[in-house]
Structure formats: C-alpha cells, structure tokens
C-alpha cells in the first residue's frame, strides 16, 4: 500500500485529509505541522509520497524541501499551496516537485495523482 505523510499547519485539514486518504486505501504514516516535522517524518518512515504545504510557521515548506532533497531524491512531493507567486514557482523548480496543487484542492485530485503513479 502506498505510504504518505501529510504536512500542513492547518490541523483540521491534515486530520480530514488523513481520513480521506485512508478511505481511499492510502496509508498515512505521519502528520506534521511544519518543515522540521516534515524532515523528521521523512527520515523515520521514508514514505512514497509527501503532501507539503509551503507557508507554515517557523520552518516553512521550502526549508523542508531544501533539507530533504539533500539526501532523498526518491520521495515524491506534492505541494499544496494557497498562493503561487512568480518567485515561489521559480524556487520550486529546483526541487523536483511531483505536482503542485492550489488550495482549495479537490481531495479526489490528490488521490488521483497518488494512485496514477
């Protein structure tokens, strides 16, 4: 079964997305709320996918991307973000992103992206 981790500072959102994923036979092995959580969870579980929010307090998504891509090139990262500006798109280009989805995201679209690999 595909294993994923979900990183978003919006706790309710991570909870409900976890339920939805599990309902769709995707195993959620961890939930985090900032960039540091993302790094730790990635090290602990080495999941197939990571759903990552960009703007989070303290350690943001870019912090996690920068760190994780140094030692892990296999994890597929789906970025979920509220706002895509020119600069953030440019920054994302260097990290080999699997998909970028703009919030509010239809959960079925996430599932489709994960299942279709």
């Amino acid at each position: 079964m595909t294993q994923i981790i979900i990183i978003d500072d919006e706790v309710d959102f991570t909870e409900i997305l976890k339920d939805y994923c599990e309902m769709s036979d995707i195993e959620v092995v961890g939930i985090g709320h900032n960039g540091q959580d993302a790094i730790n969870l990635c090290k602990d579980h080495s999941p197939d996918f990571m759903l990552l929010d960009l703007s989070m307090p303290q350690f943001d998504g870019f912090y996690a991307l920068e760190n994780i891509r140094k030692w892990n090139n296999t994890i597929k990262i789906i970025v979920l973000t509220g706002l895509l500006t020119e600069s953030s798109v440019k920054n994302l280009d260097q990290y080999e992103i699997f998909a970028t989805l703009i919030k509010p995201v239809d959960p079925d679209e996430i599932i489709k992206k994960i299942k279709n690999t």
Partner: protein
C-alpha cells in the same frame, strides 16, 4: 525647421538688432558730443543714461525672478544673486549721480564705493553657484588659465593704484586697491564660465552675461588709468563701456523673461480656474496698499515742495522728488505685476496640491483595501479546503439521497467562493507576462475543463485553429471569466460560440452568446473594477480581463446583437 526653432532664431535676430541699435545710439551720442558738442552733455545725456539703463536692468532682472520657475538657463539662487548685483550697481550709479550732479561733491571713500565693491562680489557668488553643478566637468587647466589672466591684469593695476595713491591715507589706498582686487576675483569664474559655456555650447544667455563682465572689468581698468592720468571727465568715452555692459545685461534679462513665455509649461484653462478666484482682500489688498503709499508720497512731496521750506537747496528737493516719484511708480507697478503673478502661481499650486492629495488618499485607501482583500482571499483558502475535503468525504460515505443533495449544494457554493477568491487574487496580483506561442483551441479546451456547464447550454468551440502569442495562464483567466459570465447570463439555456480569426497584424477572438444584450450605457462600464450587475459578482472578473489584455498590448470590448466579447491582440509579441 520646427516652429519653435524658427521662433527662437527670429527672437535672436530681433535681440541682436535691438542691442546694436541701442549701442549705436549711445555711440552716436558720444560722437555727436565730440564733434558738435551738446549743451550740458553730462546732465542731459550721461545722467539719464546712467539712470535709465541700470534701472531697466534692475526691473527686467526682478521681472525675470518672478518668472524664474520657467527659466531653464539659470538656477533661481544664482539669478537672485545676479539681480542683487545689478541692483547694487544701480544703487552705486544713483549715489554717484547724486554726489556728482546734485550735491556737486566728490566724497571718497563713500557709500557709492561700497555699492561698487559689493556688486562684483555678489556677481562672483552668482557665478560660483552657476558653476557648482558642473564642478566635475571643469578642468583644472581652465582655472589655472583664468587665475593667470586675472593676476596678469591685477598686478599692474595694483601697482598703478598704489603709486598713485601713495600720498593718501591708508584707508583711502585700501579702498582704491580693493577695486582691482574685486575685479580680478570676479574675472576668474567669469573666464572659467565663458570657456566652459563656449566649449559646451550652452545657452546664449550666459555667453552674453560673461561678455558683459569682461567689458565691465576692462572699463574699470581703463577708468582707473583715466583717473590716474586725471583725464577722466564726466562723459568720458569709457562710459560707453560701462553702459554697454549694463545694456547687454538688460538684454539678457529681457531674453530670460521672453524665453520663459515660450517655454511649454502648462497653461490653465479659464473654466477650471474660476473655482479658485482669490478672495476680495487678497485681490484688492495689495492695490489698496499701493494706492495709499502713492497718495502719501504725493502728499509728502507736495508739502515738501510747496509748503515747507525744509531745504533751501532747490536743486536737491527737485532731484529727490523726481527720483522718489520715479521709484515709487516703478516699484508700485512692479509689485502689482509680481503680486498677480504670485497669485496665479499660488492658485495653480493649490489646485495641483489638492488634486494630488485627493489622488493620494484614494490610492492609499485602494491599496489598503487591496492588501486586505488579497490577504482575506488567501486566508479563506485553508478553511475552504477543509470544507471541500469534508464534503467529499460525506459524499462518499453517505447513501442518503437528501444528504447527497446537500453535499452538491455545498460543493457548488465552495466552487463559487473559490472563483471569487481567484477573481480577487487575479486582480490584485501583479504578474510580469510570460509570452508563449499557443493554440487557441488548446486554450479554450483548458479553460472549459474546470467549468460546470449545465446541460441546456451548448458551447461551440472554434472550428479553425490559430497560434497566438500570449501568456497562457493569464489568457486562461480571460477566457474563463468571459465564458463563465456568458454561462451565468444564459441561466441554463442558450448557445455560446467561440470564433477565432485574424487580420494583417492582429489575432481576434470572439465570444458570442445568445443571452440578453448589454445596455448601451454599460458597455464600457462593465470593464471597470468593482462594477457588477450580479449579486454574487466581485466586479473584478472583466476588470482583470481588461488589465491582462492591456498587458498584451491588445484591446477588449463588447458588441450587441448578438452579445459578443471581442479580444484583439497583436500577432507579433516578444517571446
């Protein structure tokens, strides 16, 4: 030749002719004096010349200051100093006239000397101010050259003055020595400036001013030697040089005033100006004050001349009276001109200021609201995501028909909110456009992909295909907004036709619908920000479209029968 340069050359020609006539007249007078002899030459000719010409110089100078905002040739501070130096010369000449012609005395050192010495110093500072901005462009060689020339002139004149005045007391020698010193100090920046202006082909104005200075310095030197030789009498030909330099300067001031009129600064249209008519006091106060001063001067003069016997010396009273009358009339008229000009400028500035303030407040408010709206829109995305996901979850878990129906309502509302948020963010965000070469059919398909279209609506996609140069993401926003507008307008049934065509230099996209026509008075208004006829619209959709098309250097407008949105963008865009 443009109209402007023609005007200018005509003006220069007029200027040169006027100057030559003037100088010719003065020369003629001197010639007439030396050949046939004119009675009381010094009283009848040189006294008025020394009064009228420096007087005209001062008046023109002050006039130039009043219009200094429109003068390009000289900075305001420098001009003011220049005019002060003219005024000092005027004062010096008048004091001298008073001593020489009225009082028949020859005091030395006197106030006249003070004025004569202060004038070149003021002019020196004016020149320094003029040269200051070009400090870097002036080579040291020129400065050394100028200093050498001025020292070469200074040393013999100093020696001559000193030997001449050796029997005088110390203070008298000092004053006499100051003249050549002051002149040579003035000569340094004058020579620097003249070589600088000629080399850089700067305006005629400065060249003439500087020629005037050189002439004046030359006149001073000649005057000095004439005094030493004791050949100077009033009406000596060296006066021609002094008067020439005053005349030349007077013409430069006239040149400034005249040039300022042709400078293309804004003119105020009278209709708008009406609103800013000054109040009665401001309008008549100055004139009333001037009238009172004139009356008082008149009373004083009349009483002095006819009733009181203040001074038995008839000559002085008459001279004093005439000078006073002349000065009062001159300065009164000058104050009136200045005042009206000031009022005019003040009104203009006040209006400009009011407009700017209004615009600033508006802009600030708009930008604050814009920031708030975009933050709000952005922050709403997270809770909206939660609602959307929860809704999908309920939809999947439930089999209850009523619940399923409700989830449909929820997702439709979420869609609508999402659309409105995007509207706001599309409008607020500033994107640099990224031009790609892309097919219209692809664009149309992609924009329809995310749209919910009810069954009664038929969308006819373009039959042919065109490649257009545009920013894909931005153009999708345009198509999406226009098509969505049409769908909403049709209320469930109707036809939307998308056509593309091209002419010589433009690609044209037409989006037609069978819905109601757009009222004629709203055809332009619908593209304005915040204008909406729908109760759920943000009023930003079409405004964003217009903004995006404008960034593509194209146009967007609407026609009726059938309602058609027409987008035209140039075929060639830089990629």
């Amino acid at each position: 030749m443009s109209e402007n340069t023609m005007k200018r050359s005509r003006f220069v020609a007029f200027w040169i002719i006027g100057l030559s006539i003037n100088l010719g007249l003065i020369l003629g007078l001197y010639y007439a004096e030396s050949t046939i002899g004119i009675n009381d030459f010094s009283d009848n000719i040189s006294l008025p010349l020394y009064t009228i010409i420096p007087g005209a110089l001062v008046i023109l100078g002050i006039w130039a200051i009043t219009v200094s905002d429109k003068i390009k040739e000289i900075q305001k501070k420098s001009l003011i100093l220049l005019v002060i130096s003219f005024t000092l010369w005027f004062a010096a000449e008048q004091t001298w006239n008073l001593y020489e012609h009225v009082l028949d005395i020859d005091p030395y050192p006197s106030i006249a000397d003070l004025f004569y010495l202060a004038a070149p110093i003021t002019m020196f500072f004016s020149l320094i101010l003029f040269l200051k901005p070009f400090k870097k462009q002036i080579s040291k060689k020129i400065i050394v050259f100028a200093s050498t020339i001025s020292i070469i002139i200074l040393i013999p004149t100093l020696i001559a003055t000193y030997t001449f005045g050796i029997e005088d007391n110390f203070f008298e020698i000092l004053v006499a020595l100051l003249y050549p010193i002051v002149d040579s100090i003035l000569l340094i920046p004058a020579i620097v400036a003249i070589s600088f202006t000629i080399l850089n082909k700067r305006s005629l104005f400065w060249i003439v001013i500087l020629i005037g200075i050189l002439v004046l310095v030359a006149a001073d030197v000649i005057f000095l030697f004439a005094i030493i030789d004791d050949t100077y009498t009033d009406g000596h030909p060296v006066d021609i040089l002094f008067i020439s330099s005053y005349t030349v300067w007077a013409f430069t001031m006239y040149y400034l005033v005249n040039n300022s009129k042709s400078s293309n600064l804004e003119r105020i249209d009278p209709v708008q100006n009406k609103k800013y008519q000054t109040k009665k006091f401001e309008k008549y106060g100055v004139i009333i004050t001037i009238i009172i001063i004139n009356i008082m001067v008149g009373i004083i003069l009349i009483s002095m001349n006819y009733y009181l016997e203040i001074n038995p010396e008839e000559n002085i009273t008459t001279y004093f009276s005439w000078t006073l009358i002349m000065l009062v009339v001159l300065f009164s008229s000058f104050i009136i001109v200045l005042n009206s000009k000031l009022n005019f400028t003040l009104q203009k500035r006040t209006r400009a200021l009011e407009e700017t303030t209004e615009n600033l407040i508006k802009a600030e408010r708009f930008s604050a609201i814009g920031t708030l709206a975009s933050r709000l829109a952005h922050d709403l995305r997270n809770p909206l995501g939660i609602i959307m996901t929860s809704n999908s979850m309920i939809k999947r878990k439930s089999t209850d028909a009523q619940i399923l129906k409700n989830t449909k309502f929820i997702s439709r509302s979420v869609d609508r909110m999402e659309h409105q948020i995007n509207n706001v963010l599309d409008f607020v965000r500033v994107h640099p456009i990224k031009i790609e070469n892309i097919s219209i059919q692809e664009l149309v398909n992609e924009s329809l992909k995310n749209m919910t279209i009810s069954e009664g609506i038929v969308i006819i996609k373009p039959q042919n295909d065109l490649k257009i140069h545009c920013d894909k993401e931005q153009f999708l926003i345009v198509l999406y907004n226009i098509i969505l507008n049409a769908i909403q307008k049709l209320e469930g049934t109707g036809k939307i036709t998308i056509v593309c065509e091209s002419n010589d230099n433009q690609n044209i996209i037409k989006i037609q619908d069978t819905g109601e026509a757009i009222p004629k008075n709203l055809m332009e208004k619908i593209f304005e920000p915040l204008f909406t006829t729908k109760h759920q619209g943000t009023g930003l959709g079409l405004a964003s479209c217009k903004q995006i098309i404008k960034e593509h250097k194209g146009t967007i407008y609407v026609e009726n029968n059938p309602t058609t949105f027409i987008i035209k963008i140039p075929k060639e865009m830089k990629i």
